[in-house]
């Protein structure tokens, strides 16, 4: 089969002129983003305390908690978000538009609003929380609350990506697979999911990154308790509140920047393999 013809952008005099005009603005923007990040790295190295800080109890606890909670949030998003995404992509049903809106809402909602909403629902005197409380289950201000807050704000990123992934898989594949005798689950596992796989991975990375950086909803709904609800972003806040050395915050920040950069890089790799065709 003929390979798709790749068009190179024409390097016209006009394009060169525009590039030259835009270069100063671009440089200013690059500096604006790069200088703080480089300053962070420079201060971390200059202080000479980076290693001590990274191995301090506060930082280690925060890292462990962040890793555990964000991973559980991701698993919950995969478990519940995948069916939601499939239904939104494939079926029409009453209330679909409303569900679509509801799923996207946490993306644009301020996280603190999400925190208040979760508190009103799951807090000790909340709509659901009072019944849980009667059963002796406390949710608010526990590690469970951290997971719920992260899932609430991050799952929509996964659902959006995977919904688009499912939409890109022609229903004809599923129809043909059915005529070949495959049941619904076999069709989903063998055909639909593998074909949507790059979107699933991309969505999972975005979701995980969002869960890892979650701050506002967690602060309101779970509080900032070391070892229990203090994830890395909360630990940075905690450093300032407790009047500790800014170097601890810098150490946490450096770790988060590196984690974020690694996730972003992974996302690029996934996107480029996806562009080469399904795995």
């Amino acid at each position: 089969m003929a390979a798709a013809v790749k068009l190179q952008p024409a390097t016209t005099r006009l394009a060169v002129g525009i590039g030259a005009a835009f270069a100063p603005l671009t440089l200013i923007f690059v500096a604006f983003v790069a200088v703080p990040l480089l300053a962070l790295g420079w201060r971390a190295l200059e202080s000479g305390e980076l290693q001590d800080n990274i191995t301090s109890d506060l930082v280690v606890d925060a890292m462990r908690l962040s890793a555990i909670t964000s991973t559980i949030a991701l698993v919950l998003a995969l478990l519940f978000g995948t069916p939601v995404a499939y239904l939104l992509a494939r079926r029409s049903f009453p209330g679909k538009a409303a569900l679509d809106l509801l799923v996207d809402l946490p993306i644009v909602l301020p996280p603190t609003v999400a925190g208040v909403a979760l508190l009103v629902a799951f807090g000790r005197r909340g709509v659901l929380g009072q019944h849980l409380d009667a059963l002796g289950l406390d949710v608010a201000f526990t590690t469970v609350a951290v997971v719920l807050a992260q899932t609430f704000v991050s799952a929509p990123f996964y659902i959006r990506a995977v919904k688009a992934g499912f939409e890109s898989v022609s229903p004809e594949y599923e129809g043909v697979a059915a005529t070949l005798g495959a049941g619904p689950l076999r069709i989903f596992w063998k055909i639909t999911l593998p074909l949507a796989w790059p979107s699933v991975v991309a969505g999972a990375i975005l979701c995980w990154a969002r869960a890892l950086s979650e701050l506002g909803a967690t602060l309101v709904f779970a509080g900032n308790f070391s070892g229990r609800t203090q994830t890395m972003p909360l630990a940075i806040i905690g450093v300032f509140d407790a009047g500790r050395s800014i170097n601890v915050a810098i150490a946490l920040a450096v770790i988060l920047v590196l984690a974020a950069a690694a996730l972003l890089l992974l996302l690029r790799v996934v996107a480029s393999t996806a562009a080469r065709g399904p795995v």
């Binding site: 129809g175 697979a177 005798g181 065709g277």
Partner: protein
């Protein structure tokens, strides 16, 4: 036996196909949007009719009265769609074996060997569909549909994306495979040549209905209505009425001339009919040579236009003093020998056998 008789409303479109097929290849022929593909989807179980009945050789798969509606998985039908829908992440062998999930491993291997041999796919087993040619993709799609040995094969314009020589090769292969395997096959196309090349019988579709179902030659030689004649590209369709109906021939008065047509006892004088004759049956003669069969209608005409199409020419002829335009096809060789393009004055003969009356 395959028997289809159902109704399905889709917005303003009403699909009401009715036809049956034995161990043969039935072509559903008609313009785009006539409901041919939807009919296949309903047979395969991917579209649920509102009412009616669909029977396959294995039994009734849909019956609204008896509340039967088997899922596609249980219908035992091989279905090849227009886009083929080869699973792009699975190898040729995995695609071919997709329907054999429940078979024992040894039997799967043996069946794959058979399919690869039958379709000439040797050496491609480990390739992905994106890495083989269009014709090979067609064969894989066909093999995948046939793998579990279904008694029914449904083909939805499977060759539309291929070039002409490859299409005709694959047509022959499909026809011979069908005979060899004793399948009931339903083939959808809007290509008249393809329909004629493949069909044992043709169902002519228009606006969701089967206008005519019959043996291929019968449909071409006796269209049931003017619409069928139009769909079959009859070209020369002249409204008129019957003047005389005898055992030997009909005499039809068209707007421009009197013509003799094939005898047809259904008609009596006064009936409104259209005189239909396909371009390939309009014979071009020199005016100075007498025509052999005196019962054929002859007309003096002027050549007004022509279009060459590779191995034949379509000639546009006008009876002088009228606006009656006839179309005739003539092969490249007689065209050259007779020097058709070099003069305007010709005579045509409308062969009695092929000049037919179609009810208006």
């Amino acid at each position: 036996m395959l028997a289809v008789d159902f109704e399905k409303r889709l917005g303003p479109f009403e699909l009401r196909p009715r036809f049956a097929a034995a161990e043969e290849l039935v072509v559903l022929f008609g313009p785009s949007g006539a409901g041919k593909s939807l009919t296949l989807r309903a047979i395969a179980g991917l579209l649920k009719p509102d009412r009616g009945r669909i029977e396959l050789p294995s039994g009734v798969v849909f019956d609204s009265d008896a509340r039967i509606d088997l899922p596609p998985q249980a219908r035992d039908v091989g279905y090849v769609v227009q886009e083929l829908a080869l699973f792009p992440h699975l190898t040729v062998a995995e695609n071919l074996g997709f329907a054999l999930g429940a078979w024992p491993r040894e039997q799967v291997r043996a069946r794959l060997g058979e399919l690869v041999e039958m379709l000439g796919l040797q050496g491609l087993e480990k390739r992905l569909p994106g890495a083989i040619s269009g014709g090979q993709q067609q064969r894989v799609a066909l093999g995948r549909a046939l793998a579990a040995k279904p008694p029914v094969l449904l083909l939805d314009e499977p060759f539309s994306a291929l070039d002409a020589p490859l299409r005709s090769t694959l047509r022959r292969e499909v026809a011979s495979l069908r005979r060899q395997l004793g399948l009931t096959a339903v083939f959808v196309t809007h290509d008249l040549q393809e329909a004629f090349a493949l069909a044992d019988r043709i169902a002519v579709y228009d606006e969701g209905r089967v206008l005519q179902l019959g043996d291929r030659r019968e449909v071409f030689s006796s269209p049931a209505s003017v619409r069928v004649a139009e769909l079959l590209d009859t070209r020369n369709i002249l409204p008129g009425r019957v003047l005389e109906s005898s055992e030997a021939f009909l005499v039809i008065e068209t707007e421009h001339f009197l013509a003799r047509a094939r005898a047809d006892a259904r008609y009596k004088p006064g009936d409104a009919v259209a005189l239909c004759i396909r371009p390939e049956h309009v014979i071009i003669l020199r005016r100075d040579r007498p025509h052999a069969n005196s019962l054929d209608t002859t007309l003096d005409v002027e050549l007004v236009d022509e279009v060459a199409s590779g191995n034949s020419h379509r000639i546009y002829l006008k009876a002088p003093g009228t606006d009656c335009l006839l179309e005739a096809d003539i092969s490249a060789h007689p065209y050259d020998v007779m020097g058709i393009g070099k003069q305007r004055e010709w005579r045509v003969a409308l062969t009695l056998e092929y000049a037919i009356a179609v009810p208006l």
